[in-house]
């Protein structure tokens, strides 16, 4: 699958061009999510768009990198209604702040949560830990 990246301020322009240009017409947003690369300083978070041209049956992957300190990326909800929940999910798990989203609140996690759980700094629980009183679940 063709994969390319663009500066994050350009994401809306790129997506709009891919949508409008008759020979491209990527008008179906298949998927939107993020990946956290803690080692890439200055571009820790990567927002990945999967687009699909249904007429010619071509899929592309488009990436935008952003700093984790200022994770502001323009929202694509005006272009794709499908992006609404997917951007909320990405915000929920990675803390990407989608500028211009009509209702950017958590979607799957509880509202009171104050961290972004899919970032790499939150490891899963150590499976060998013994200090936990978990007799209810028989561990």
């Amino acid at each position: 699958m063709l994969t390319f990246a663009a500066p994050k301020d350009m994401n809306l322009k790129v997506l709009q061009f891919l949508y409008d240009e008759e020979s491209l017409s990527f008008r179906f947003m298949t998927d939107l999510q993020a990946v956290h690369y803690p080692d890439r300083i200055g571009e820790e978070l990567c927002v990945v768009y999967h687009l699909h041209n249904l007429r010619d049956n071509v899929r592309i992957r488009f990436k935008v990198y952003t700093d984790v300190q200022a994770p502001d990326v323009f929202s694509t909800t005006a272009l794709f209604a499908a992006a609404n929940f997917m951007e909320r999910e990405t915000y929920d798990f990675f803390g990407v702040n989608f500028v211009g989203h009509p209702n950017l609140i958590r979607v799957l996690n509880v509202d009171e949560m104050d961290y972004f759980p899919l970032r790499k700094e939150f490891p899963l629980e150590d499976q060998t830990r013994v200090d936990k009183d978990d007799e209810m679940f028989g561990r």
């Binding site: 008008r27 947003m29 998927d31 999510q33 999967h50 209604a81 997917m86 999910e89 509880v110």
Partner: protein
Amino acid sequence: MPIMSEDILLPEGAGEKQTTTLNLGPTHPATHGVFQNILELDGERILKATSTVGYIHRAFEKIAERRPLYQITPLTDRLNYCSSPINNMGWHLTCEKLLGVQTPKRVDYLRVIIMELARIADHLICNSIVGVDSGAYSGFLYLMQYRELIYEIYEEVCGSRLTTNIGRIGGFERNFTNTAFEKLEKFLKEYPEQLNEFEKLFKRNRIFMERTIGCGPISAERALNYGFTGPNLRAAGIDYDVRVHTPYSSYQDFEFSIPVGTTGDCYDRFLVRQQEMWQSLSIITQAYKKVQEFKGQEAEVYHADTPAYYLPEKKDVYTKMEALIWHFKIIMGETAIPPGEVYHAVEGANGELGFYLISDGGRTPYRLHFRRPCFIYYQAFPELVEGGLLSDAIITMSSLNLIAGELDA
């Protein structure tokens, strides 16, 4: 002296128009799953709907970051649990795409049989539940026993029924037994008649038609913009099917058509699913015929030759050194996954079920994302029901085939 209306003292604001706020869900029996909808009602008419999801979120994407590939299969079971084999196969196919594993044709055909059975099981539930919600309970009772036959086939192949964990990377855990094929034949023989009867009960039923035509419609353009896939998109008139657009598991070897609707309302969704069941039956028949053509040694093939990912037979583990090593490495999850990035989609019962897998060369995925069709089309729900009646919202919800497990991941 007659009482004048001015004399009656009403509380302030009582004469103004009032709306009711109704909490539909999260444990309402009519929502068939853990969904919450806060509805603003004017009488019975819905003015505004706000949906809340996430009640059974289980953080599969995070859990998967610690598991070797074969341990992720049981997580995919729990996405759309009405058709878990499709999820399992989708996951195996994703892994095979990343690892570059070529599966033998017989495995592909066996997979197609199982996936299409799963599609029938899923559509059968959805359509009969639409019947239940519109007041026709008996259709559900007729069809439900045939899901039992499908589950018996799963049971014969993999040992479990609902959360199947069926298959392995590269193929199946064991060859299909004769009993499995006998059960399949029984199903192929008995089901069409029953499905026909079910269809007769609903298709031209005046009550059912009046109840579902024009209920929760969506235009093709809006459906595309909302990221609809699967039967719900096809009911709106767009013939997008992953099985045809990007064939996987040798779907290109089969003859079938994609049913499409026009208005995208509940009735069209019902008809599209109904027609898809017939198509699935035809695919299964073709696949079964192709499977029967394998003779002798070829009929014994049920997995690809990938020792690094496919568990060796138990008797070899006890007698052969190499098999023992592979067994240990696989079970302990010590096989490194080649670095790469793949997106693979299969036509799930609800639409395009995608797996986006990133590996950095470690033993577990660096990141795994599930594209869950339910999650994406559920956001259109307020638009579908606003302006309609409360009872229409219930039918719309069940005809979209919302599965909470898939929605929340």
